[in-house]
């Protein structure tokens, strides 16, 4: 997995650091660490107005080029000089990847749609209310004004909320690169922390999913507003005659990728809903999680809280049915 990093960096080891949940590259003998945390290294700036233009720029400018969406994940990382971006391609002028369309029960959201646009869209709230519920728990008002759904799902940050949500919705990511367009299921997209199946030349164009039905809940425990999840779980569930007819469960920040709890889903569908079942389902989900210890707490704590959060989400979703 290291091959995807810029190969000129000479490093001793990579440590998944507790600070900001970012990967810290520690230079043992060469460069000075923590040189500056406020000002990125210099880059050239591009502002294409079409997807083709953007793709063209990425492929021609090479591996030192990077796209920027809302910037609220990327800019903090650039400030700490954890990346060495020489060409920054701003996607914000590309109108074709903005906006929310709902047609024949299929929701299509442009990658550059901001969190606040997701929250305020009444049509979207009617067909997929879980999105507003989850989005309101992301970061703070200012960040939600500029942060995009594309930025939240595309970089493989295990702490972001939208990837798990998209897996919950069984969303499809529409990518476009030099070799044309392709679709990747959200449930297949994440390979590891900061590693996804997106090729270097590809841009996320839009995200689409069928509007869900059933009860829903996005439950997130965090230390304060603005923090990533200590543990978060999303549930969408349909119950008929007290039996679960369909379900979807996904976890956030409890592994190096979002966790779609397929085993738990297989287990719950078709069963009679009672407390014991919910406990069993919860346990299966927790067993599928693999959280990392950090300042939020040790692994044991996170696993325990994951169980609480999952159970709460299940119960709330069932109530909403």
């Amino acid at each position: 997995m290291f091959h995807k990093l810029n190969n000129y960096i000479n490093f001793s080891y990579i440590i998944l650091d507790n600070i900001n949940n970012e990967i810290y590259l520690i230079f043992k003998y060469k460069n000075s660490f923590m040189g500056c945390k406020m000002i990125p290294s210099a880059f050239s700036y591009y502002r294409p107005s079409k997807v083709d233009e953007a793709v063209g720029l990425i492929s021609s400018l090479g591996e030192d080029a990077r796209v920027i969406a809302g910037g609220h994940s990327l800019i903090p990382v650039m400030k700490q000089r954890l990346t060495d971006i020489k060409h920054l391609i701003d996607l914000s002028a590309i109108d074709e990847i903005k906006g929310i369309q709902i047609k024949n029960n299929v929701v299509s959201i442009g990658a550059m749609t901001t969190q606040v646009e997701l929250i305020n869209n009444e049509e979207l709230f009617k067909v997929a209310p879980i999105i507003r519920e989850a989005s309101l728990q992301i970061a703070d008002p200012q960040v939600r004004n500029l942060g995009t759904i594309g930025g939240n799902v595309a970089n493989g940050d295990p702490a972001n909320d939208m990837p798990g949500l998209m897996q919950l919705l069984d969303a499809t990511y529409n990518l476009s690169g030099v070799n044309g367009s392709r679709e990747v299921k959200a449930r297949d997209f994440y390979e590891g922390a900061y590693f996804t199946s997106r090729e270097d030349d590809e841009i996320l164009i839009s995200i689409s999913f069928e509007s869900p039905s059933g009860g829903y809940a996005y439950e997130k425990q965090k230390r304060k507003i603005g923090d990533y999840a200590t543990a978060a779980a999303g549930v969408i569930i349909k119950v008929e005659n007290n039996k679960c007819s369909s379900a979807s469960i996904a976890l956030t920040n409890l592994s190096d990728t979002p966790v779609y709890c397929d085993k738990a889903v297989d287990m719950i569908v078709g069963k009679e809903i009672d407390n014991d079942l919910l406990d069993q389902v919860t346990k299966i989900c927790v067993d599928q999680s693999d959280p990392v210890a950090d300042q939020r707490g040790p692994v044991e704590f996170k696993k325990y809280v994951a169980g609480i959060v999952i159970k709460k989400a299940l119960k709330r979703a069932i109530e909403k049915v």
Partner: protein
């Protein structure tokens, strides 16, 4: 370092800047345009002391590169009210002791400005949620919330008067 030209409107005035693309908007405002109201309190986009109003939204200007603001309509604390006629928010912050050291204040005021446009008649909880992107170390927020609630009331009253005058 190559520089680029960026045009934007700041506090009603057209500005043309020639800056390195990596120049953070907060630095462009503070150093190139000398609007030093927006402050820098952290390096991780948490504190909100740099909050301004950009294209009708509250934005942390430390997390925007200046060229991203090409063509933007920007309002900073220097652009609302005037020494002769303060904005209702500025008045109410003084009336209700909504500031102490003043460092978070421009960001708080600009956030309140937009928040009250989005939600002119908020509850206290809504205010607290609305300013959850702005940290303060001095006030414990209680008087800030009081100030914003009072400003909301004053603005609503002023609108009523304006509407009457127009009618």
């Amino acid at each position: 370092m190559e520089k680029i030209n960026v045009s934007m409107k700041v506090n009603g005035k057209e500005e043309n800047l020639t800056v390195e693309p990596r120049t953070l908007l907060v630095h462009a405002l503070r150093e190139h345009l000398e609007y030093t109201g927006a402050h820098i309190g952290c390096s991780s986009s948490h504190c909100g002391a740099c909050t301004i109003d950009m294209n009708g939204k509250s934005v942390k200007s430390c997390t925007v590169f200046t060229p991203q603001a090409e063509g933007a309509d920007i309002l900073t604390v220097e652009g609302i009210g005037s020494p002769d006629k303060l904005h209702a928010i500025q008045e109410m912050f003084k009336e209700h002791h909504g500031l102490q050291c003043g460092y978070c204040t421009p960001g708080m005021i600009m956030r309140s400005y937009r928040f009250l446009q989005e939600n002119p008649d908020p509850t206290e909880d809504e205010v607290r949620f609305g300013i959850s992107g702005n940290l303060c170390r001095c006030t414990g927020y209680q008087n800030i919330v009081k100030s914003i609630m009072a400003a909301a009331s004053k603005i609503r009253d002023e609108e009523k008067v304006n509407k009457k005058e127009i009618a």
